[in-house]
Amino acid sequence: MYKILKKEKIGPNLNKFVIEAPLVPKNYQPGQFVVLKVDEVGERIPITIAEADKNKGTITLFVQEVGKTTYKLGELEAGDSISDVVGPLGHPAKVEKVGTVVTIGGGVGTAIVYPETKAFKEAGNYVISIIGFKSKDYVMLEEEMREASDELYILTDDGSYGKKGFTTNELQELESAGRKMDLVIAIGPAIMMQRISEMTKEYNVKTIVSLNSAMMDATGMCGGCRVEVDGETKFACVDGPEFDGHKVNFDLLIKRLSTYEEQEKKALDSYHRCKIEE
């Protein structure tokens, strides 16, 4: 069992967890993820590691409640335990000094882009960060991101905090202003990563995205996470999760993400109904 040491609600349906998983931080590097399973009957889901503390043997995860597993997790409190955590998985982000790096986080993707922002800054890059959220209530890691980057732009869809608009709007502005960009890291909803990749392809700026396809074992064994990159089938778990955004077939990714839409809805509905009846 893996104990939840801390839980903090940081937005609507959005929680931060610090979980005791002593072996995971040992070899952790930014960009890597864990697979967790809440209880005996639970599903295995991948979640990117936001922070790992080698001394304390803990990992920090930001989890948005979207399906049954994440709702079940959201109901747990500090002191409760979950049945399984395994990691760190996937290739680490390739962090190097390239000049100016633009890191873009969409929603809970900000939690993934945060450790990379820190790492790119520490590697000696000038880091511009753009983070976008639905509204003010969803804004996360603002202070941390401000500290980790040289410039920070915050946007909300409805303008309730920061600038009104999407991360793509801000990127467009940077480009129009003739700002130098050597590398873009974009992590968020598939549709955001697709738009950003389309734009930067035009700008001719290399772009790395982190793919959130459905995984089970996450060790290459099931092939459920397969994505198409440069016309070739890749496994997001062992070949990724980070890929060249200009080569990813996002249309396929988005379709594949909907594979279990119907069952997920059914599972979540019956779960919520049970909760009401309780």
Binding site: L23, V86, L89, R256, Q263
Partner: protein, 468 residues
């Protein structure tokens, strides 16, 4: 009954009725009754130079345990097998005896060979039912530590043997449950998971430690294991990566690898969704591509999940199918349809990205290939469309790259598997041994156990002498 008649008759395996079993995941084969086991055992000629033993990868004293059955000493018979095979309930069920021990049985020349596997299963089940989980005798403790990576058949065997020799043994498993392919691959209706659980309990009673959720090469590296004080490491991580056909449309929704499909069903219990959280999609018409045991397991699982029509799509003829005859027969009985000498060339989808049909090509058999099986040759211009809702690709596996990418010191062969000595299981890295599918590519449970047995002996030798 005349003596000859008795020799000729092989006790049939009682099975669940077809109409019942296609609706449940319970074990299909029910096992011999005591009377059946005795009657079958009495057929054994007790050859002074038994050929059956030569056919067994772990050299079980087959006439020895069969004689004990004749005498009614079932527990003793089970213990006799356990001297060489720590997992008789599993091997009695999933070994391809018809190609191994039973293929060599002298009775098979004129009559039918002894049902060695069924007898093995009978005594092992009898022993499990009638006695507590008991740890075999362990030799005096040794101070050396052995790490076993993977808890499939190879790893479990190495762990048991090394523990018996007195070593400190710890197994590391990547998934949340032990058993490897026994847990995620082979369905409940062929190998009840309770059996795997009990065998793991036996190991624990022997003092073997087990830690799940550890991926060697990621969570801990081989080097770190040595730093932590392990003196020898055995790698039994399995083959792993599913192979695909490499044709257009293979990433459409509703196209599964057999690994994913079976893991969802067996390990994650998707057949109990929504009681269990993991979902699975099974349409009305399912096509399983491949002709091995994994293809049969996938097809029969799909049927139990409610598919109306399940087809096996295989590019050669029935004769070349690598699946066990018993499994092909079970599938046929259950109404699986075999479409032979056809090969998918393309998958077509609807506008939402779901697979809806397969473009197939008819094949004919040409000259034998490297495997000795006749090579399928496409018949030009024979393409046709074939409607489906779900496709499961069961055409084998490649080597999993995780551990080997993290450990370049371990030499690979040209197929990406570990280059390990077939007798000593030694790899190119000092103190590291390997066996099972990660060395041979996809093979059988008993082959992996045989490799584990040899590896355990070599580990003992190495730890005693320090010689590499």
């Amino acid at each position: 009954m005349s003596d000859n008649k008795q020799k000729a008759r092989r006790e049939p395996m009682p099975k669940q009725k077809v109409e019942d079993r296609v609706k449940n995941f319970n074990e299909v084969a029910l096992g011999y009754s005591e009377e059946q086991a005795k009657s079958e055992a009495e057929r054994c000629l007790q050859c002074p130079k038994p050929l059956c033993v030569q056919g067994c990868p772990v050299d079980i004293d087959i006439p020895g345990f069969i004689k004990l059955i004749v005498e009614g000493k079932y527990t003793e018979a089970a213990n006799k097998i356990k001297e060489d095979d720590i997992l008789p309930r599993m091997t009695g069920r999933v070994c391809p005896q018809e190609e191994q021990c039973e293929a060599k049985c002298i009775l098979g020349i004129k009559h039918k060979s002894i049902a060695i596997g069924r007898l093995e299963r009978f005594v092992a089940d009898y022993e499990a039912k009638n006695s507590e989980v008991k740890a075999p005798e362990i030799r005096e403790g040794k101070s050396k530590k052995v790490a076993v990576v993977g808890s499939g058949p190879a790893g479990l065997t190495v762990a048991a043997d090394c523990a018996r020799m007195g070593y400190d043994v710890k197994i590391f498993e990547a998934l949340h449950k032990p058993g490897g392919v026994l847990a995620y691959g082979i369905p409940e209706f062929r190998l009840p998971k309770e059996i795997v659980g009990r065998e793991v309990e036996t190991l624990k009673k022997m003092g073997v430690e087990l830690e799940c959720n550890v991926i060697i090469g990621k969570t801990i590296t081989i080097e770190q294991l040595f730093e932590e004080g392990y003196d020898a490491i055995f790698l039994g991580v399995g083959a792993g990566l599913p192979r695909f056909l490499g044709v257009d449309g293979e990433n459409l929704l509703g196209v599964y690898s057999a690994n994913e499909f079976l893991t969802r069903v067996n390990l994650m219990k998707a057949y109990k969704f929504p009681e269990y959280d993991t979902p699975i999609n099974v349409g009305e018409k399912v096509a399983v591509v491949g002709g091995g045991n994994v293809a049969m397991d996938s097809a029969r699982s799909a049927l139990r999940l409610g598919a109306k029509e399940v087809h096996i799509v295989y590019r050669r003829s029935r004769q070349e199918m690598p699946a066990r005859n018993e499994e092909i027969e079970n599938a046929e009985e259950e109404g699986i349809i075999f479409d032979l000498l056809v090969n998918p060339v393309k998958f077509l989808g609807d506008e939402d990205g779901w697979v809806k049909s397969i473009e197939m090509l008819k094949m004919e058999l040409g000259e034998p290939d490297n495997s000795g099986r006749r090579r399928p040759v496409p018949i030009e211009g024979s393409e046709f469309l074939y409607d489906v809702d779900t496709v499961i690709i069961a055409i084998g596996q490649n080597a999993n790259p995780i551990l080997l990418d993290a450990t370049p010191e371990i030499k690979k062969n040209k197929w990406g598997y570990i280059d390990a000595d077939s007798e000593t299981a030694k790899t190119s890295m000092k103190g590291v041994f390997a066996g099972g599918d990660i060395v041979t590519g996809e093979a059988t449970v008993i082959d992996a156990m045989g490799a584990g047995r040899k590896a355990a002996r070599a580990i003992d030798e190495y730890l005693k002498t320090g010689k590499w």
